[in-house]
Symmetry: D2
Subunit: 255 residues, 4 copies
């Protein structure tokens, strides 16, 4: 077998270098968030970038023990207390388009919209109106907008303010703000939620769409590990049994 190629980690002779930096240097002079940025981008972040990545990771760390990812991890821990790896992994497996995954779809929409404005030589506002109109016509739900409770999501404001004051804000934030306006006009007012906000900010920081999902996983693992630790220390094995109502065929005999 050919050796695998990688540009991430050089670990020959027990020395470990992450993207060229000796891990021992990073341990004393960088934060974990810096290292996440470094591994994914190849360079250490500027202070504004670090602040944004910290804010995003904190913003997705845990939204409640009953959300699918956390509940899945707790259920797995309830039946299988021997392996915390299994429980945390189970929690991550609940992350998809419908839970924690909107950031990726939204980043793809932003990237396509910004590109379209350039290709068609139209403004971001005009591109946003086209995207919103087409989505409405196609009955397609747009990721990154709307909230069960809030009219404006306070986490969005925090991310956008950090991006603006740090000189990071660019086409991504401009385009999603234009989308919010277009949606309000064409459909109904729907605030940019945390998924939409982190998508816009990560786009402006230069991350590819897949990072919109990966960053959710990285942040959520902070919550999942705490949920699993609480389940194991505070609850009995098998304490969780979901109530079920059978509505299938009546009892019958085999011929």
């Amino acid at each position: 077998m050919e050796p695998w190629r990688t540009g991430l980690v050089d670990s020959k002779d027990g020395q470990i270098r992450l993207r060229g930096y000796d891990v021992t240097s990073l341990m004393t002079r960088a934060s974990f968030t810096d290292t996440i940025f470094l591994l994914h981008r190849g360079e250490l972040p500027r202070p504004a970038e670090r602040a944004l990545l910290d804010a995003i990771l904190i913003g997705v760390a845990d939204h409640g023990s009953g959300a699918p990812s956390c509940a899945t991890a707790r259920l797995a821990a309830s039946g299988n207390r021997q392996s915390v790896s299994a429980a945390v992994a189970a929690g991550i497996l609940a992350v998809g388009d419908d839970h924690g995954g909107a950031g990726m779809g939204c980043m793809e929409m932003i990237a396509a919209g910004v590109q379209r404005a350039k290709t068609e030589s139209i403004s971001l506002d005009e591109a946003a109106r086209l995207v919103a109109t087409e989505a409405r016509a196609g009955g397609k739900r747009l990721a990154g907008f709307g909230h069960r409770v809030h009219k404006t999501d306070p986490r969005t404001e925090i991310l956008f303010n950090l991006a603006r004051s740090g000189g990071v804000a660019g086409d991504g934030i401009a385009f999603i703000a234009a989308m919010e306006q277009a949606i309000a006009t064409i459909v109904k007012p729907l605030p940019i939620n945390i998924d939409g906000a982190l998508a816009a900010v990560l786009h402006d920081m230069g991350f590819p769409p897949v990072f919109g999902r990966l960053v959710f996983i990285i942040g959520r693992v902070a919550g999942l590990t705490a949920e699993v630790a609480e389940e194991l220390s505070r609850e009995k094995p098998m304490r969780i049994r979901i109530p079920v109502e059978y509505d299938g065929v009546a009892p019958r005999a085999l011929d």
Copy 2:
């Protein structure tokens, strides 16, 4: 890298042989259950062995959608509808000592008990009394006994009858029956449940203890895949949200 060694599958040149048999021969002349036995044991089963393995796999296939494994799979599918692999895997991750895993522990107990009878030149009844007495003294719960509802588990009777009529019954069934007697005398009457029954039968069929857990996984995947398919076809994304009550510290401000 050295090639991995395996005695399971020969797949050179696109020919696939499982334990020496061409897969195309097996496809027309064997059952899936035969193939499971073959892969794990190296030989095809006798009819009585096939009947027992079928009965065990059916017996563990699905005990209800609310059990940890099934509920975990459904929760994962609820958040992540893009990957049925992820949902089924999440369900398997809930399988451990406390859920679906008792068979392995019970097989280890049976193997140790049967061995002890030989080593100490005592009867299986005597060995069972010693094991039960020591477990009681040590406050150790014995896997494979007791049922939330039944006084005798009907699935146990089925497995034991099949084993006896098929000439498979041996020291495993004899020892666990002796354990049931000993526990009834020393602690209280506790029926041999499905985990205990399959452990005794698999011991008598010559399987190692780890197969007590693996057989549960193989059988349960039949149920997990059906649970996931039902969740996806019948329910909306994110329909599951577990009710949670917060009882931690009161709201507080950062300094």
Copy 3:
């Protein structure tokens, strides 16, 4: 929380009924393959259907220890020997569009093609020519055709013969045969492989496309459990270390 609804399993009072049948009856009078069919379809299979499902499950059980699903399971077992659930689950997680998942895509293509023939009142042959032509024009790879080694896949012939002699063969097999012809004319001769064959057969048996992936998972778990058992019994922990070549940035110092 509202109880979950299910039509699969009734497990009130410790009685377990799968799709209406008492599990104890199934244990003595059905095979595991029957039970898989029952859980997914709501009825027990006819003999020809059982034979086909057995053949499909055997056909996908294991294609070699080095394939992604098996290798992933072995690697996980190599680092984490405490949880066979974790290792088997890891193996399942490698199943996707590119490995073991072609059956689902192919079933979707077949369902769409058969539907199109009806809607447009054209023959299956004509529909197949249109699908193949459009795929070629769009540069789209069609799932279910081609094999690294074989000119005709012997497993395909077995499944089709079983389907024909059992009276199961229908539009699915007819359409995929028409596709094979169309592809040979328009692109180049590519045999129907096991994925294409099982897709056609499962379509004719009335299964939905998602079962094309689920059946691979069910069958492959037979192989994954055997691979994990062999890894644990025959190899040392951490014996696997993949050779890696670093080709990223040169060592550098932090400022």
Copy 4:
């Protein structure tokens, strides 16, 4: 079903409070590492504690693409490119006693050793000698010592210096240093490795043993996500096929 209790997250009315702190406050005034500490401990860390947790997370983030966790994630991504959740989860499933899990075992040993010194009114040095002697007699491998390459692990020195200068060093570091001495005398010189070092430091910070495994998972997810992103962006599907050598029974025919 009774609501689940939790002391971690209060998410009523769309407000999210982690351990009492509003998530929006944390987003602007805390780091991700602070939030990990907060979720697991209930309080924000002091600066020395934050520096230590950052250093530990960085120290375990990635040791090379060929290690079981990273290789497992890449293999899963190779077959299943549709779900990055599945690939990252697969990587976590390789974390166990033999890979990334030594921290937990070592924390248990430290906790037991420190407790024993108190209970038996002996010095930590004396307790360490007893533990090392008993381990040698029992043929038990002690987690946290030894390195394939280094005579002294530079990461250990960094963690211990940070702990000492930050006033965190306590019985944990004292005991493991005593263990290193005892092992050198009784067995042979074996340096405290990263697992042993983080175990001692986390003990002195007041974490329970299970966090020794969870912290590895949290840190390693930074690496796993980067490995998966590189695999998807740089490599073709199914590019990985592990070389395998079959050494089982010869081809044979079914009767």
